[in-house]
């Protein structure tokens, strides 16, 4: 175990990482965000879900550095009197949770379809790839908006707000599978021609075993690279959907619903309710995107190229 860690520290990959200030910076920012989200119940001054800890008398207090600020509330409070810093800590957690789980769903669906498509080929391949083309051209956000709008209308707003987190993961997860399927397929097609696959086939291994145990490990690099960008996209999609009122409800806010919640007050001068969560969201997305860019350059995998 220790040897493995030591080996990782001495590897070329880690050396490249250490040398690049942008990579180190964005990775640290991302780590801080994850730590903030995980430790939210411990470090947040107040639990924004607990009505007993919220006092309506504290509503709409500006951040400390502005006149009228209160040092109990570093980033001010929202119209319900909740501490912005606490809601942001919890909200980041919900945004990251939805992003990661949606991407896991995408990866499971996309990787298996890509493997089958590339390995089996023929009609199944052309059917799956045509499906992927149609799915991609429909645009994730459009599909998600319509699907969630219909669910919300069908379930009613009450029931929907309880199910929102599951629905968001399902919709964002299902809509983006082609990204993985195309990349994995392109890699499978290249790997399939290699000798180790022939060897495995000659020993008489089953197709499933060759696909998952032999080819899949060799396509992990591109999967890792697109996963970073996909998490960023999923978080943005979640924020956009919550902003439209189709995502997380106000009493269990993600970053997107915090922004929506504050948007009604921006015209009356309470800018911090919207702008602070918005800046947090932008920094989070930027960190993930920069890290993804660096990973792509460093690992230089064979990605699906649109032509």
């Amino acid at each position: 175990m220790i040897a493995a860690v030591q080996k990782a520290f001495e590897s070329n990959f880690f050396y490249q990482f250490r040398r690049d200030p942008v990579a180190v910076g964005s990775a640290s920012v991302l780590l801080i965000f994850v730590a903030m989200a995980v430790l939210a119940p411990l470090i947040a001054p107040q639990n924004p879900y607990d009505p007993l800890q919220i006092d309506l008398m504290d509503s709409e207090i500006p951040p400390v550095w502005q006149q009228g600020g209160d040092e109990r509330f570093v980033f001010g409070t929202d119209p319900q009197g909740r501490d912005m810093w606490s809601t942001i800590l919890y909200g980041t957690g919900i945004s990251l949770l939805i992003g990661v789980f949606a991407v896991m769903l995408q990866a499971v669906m996309g990787v298996s379809m890509g493997l089958v498509s590339g390995y089996v080929g023929g009609r199944i391949d052309s059917f799956l790839m045509r499906l992927a083309d149609i799915q991609l051209s429909l645009s994730t956000l459009m599909v998600a908006i319509i699907a969630l709008a219909v669910f919300q209308a069908a379930f009613g707003a009450e029931l929907y707000s309880d199910l929102a987190i599951v629905m968001l993961i399902l919709v964002i997860g299902i809509a983006e599978w082609p990204q993985y399927a195309r990349t994995v397929r392109a890699n499978v097609l290249a790997e399939k021609e290699k000798e180790y696959v022939d060897a495995a086939r000659v020993i008489g291994l089953s197709g499933r075993r060759i696909m998952f145990r032999h080819i899949l490990p060799n396509t992990l690099t591109p999967i890792l690279v697109i996963s970073t960008v996909q998490v960023a996209n999923a978080i943005v999609a979640e924020a956009a959907l919550s902003f439209l009122g189709l995502g997380m409800p106000v009493n269990q806010p993600s970053l997107g619903s915090l922004i929506r919640n504050g948007f009604d007050y921006i015209l009356s001068g309470q800018w911090w309710i919207t702008v602070i969560p918005a800046i947090v969201l932008i920094i989070l997305i930027l960190a993930i995107n920069l890290l993804g860019d660096w990973l792509r350059d460093a690992l230089n995998p064979k990605l699906y190229k649109e032509t």
């Binding site: 459009m142 908006i145 919300q152 956009a240 902003f243 439209l244 922004i259 921006i266 932008i282 649109e306």
Partner: protein, 327 residues
Amino acid sequence: MDTLAFLIKRLGQAAVVMLVISIIGFSIQDNLGDPLRELVGQSVSEEVRDELREEMGLNDPFFVQYWRFLTKAVQGDLGTSYFFKKPALEVIMGKFPATFELVLAATFIIIFVSVPVGIYCAIHPKSFFSRLAMAVSIVGISVPVFLTAIFSIYIFAIYLDWLPSYGRGDTVDLGFWRTGFLSLDGLSHLILPALALSSIMLPLFIRLIRGEMMEVLRSEYVRFAWAKGLHPSRVYLLHAFKNTLLPVITVGGVQVGTLIAYTILTETVFQWPGMGFLFLEAVNRVDTPLIIAYIIVVGLIFVITNTIVDLVYTMVNPMVRITGVKG
């Protein structure tokens, strides 16, 4: 001949997509709420209800009902909006000009900014301006469109108080079309939403044009054009840029759906009285006919633009005529 076969194939595909969308629309209508209750309310006895249900054909098999829905839809009858008490299609089309003008203005900005910037960045990749443009574009990709919209409202409408923050302003009625292009007030209302909508696509197209152009500039025929001693502007624009157009058109076609989705976000932030804003209102009011009408109209716009993009692509690229028929 080849183009004709390609056209027929594309139209076939478009018809299939529209059929799927109509089935989705129909099943929504079937499952959201009880049309009988919307019509007569709660106070009618069970017998009268059964009679009415039979009369309206609600007991017919699924496919009979679906066929009825489809024939009506083809004739432009998508039901009556519960809220507006007017035909749903009429309500949607009344909002169409606002959305169309917003998209048109945004497309204008995208083309006239991304093409020159992309070409410049490809020709002078090391210059300060190119590096700046690339750095700004990665930040631009990371900022979601509704945040660009919110920030531009905060800066230009509230802080500086230069531009209006919501609505469409004065419009001029052309009889069949209410346009905001012809009045100064309408144009000033258009600036912020159009900028916000274009902001999300700009980085993508700048990067795409730059990448493709740099690849083309390294190719043999461009070097031959230089060797012939042609004027630089001729080499860059006629020889190189023309060939970067193909991937740009393809990606543009893929982005149509995304652009429609972003109009919903932009219209919500700026309270722009377009189709997307209307759709969200309809969702909140559970106005089923209006939801279905929006899905079908948007599906139709999407299919039509995609077919046009494909046709333009065949015209620009002679190779696709052969591959298009084979595959």
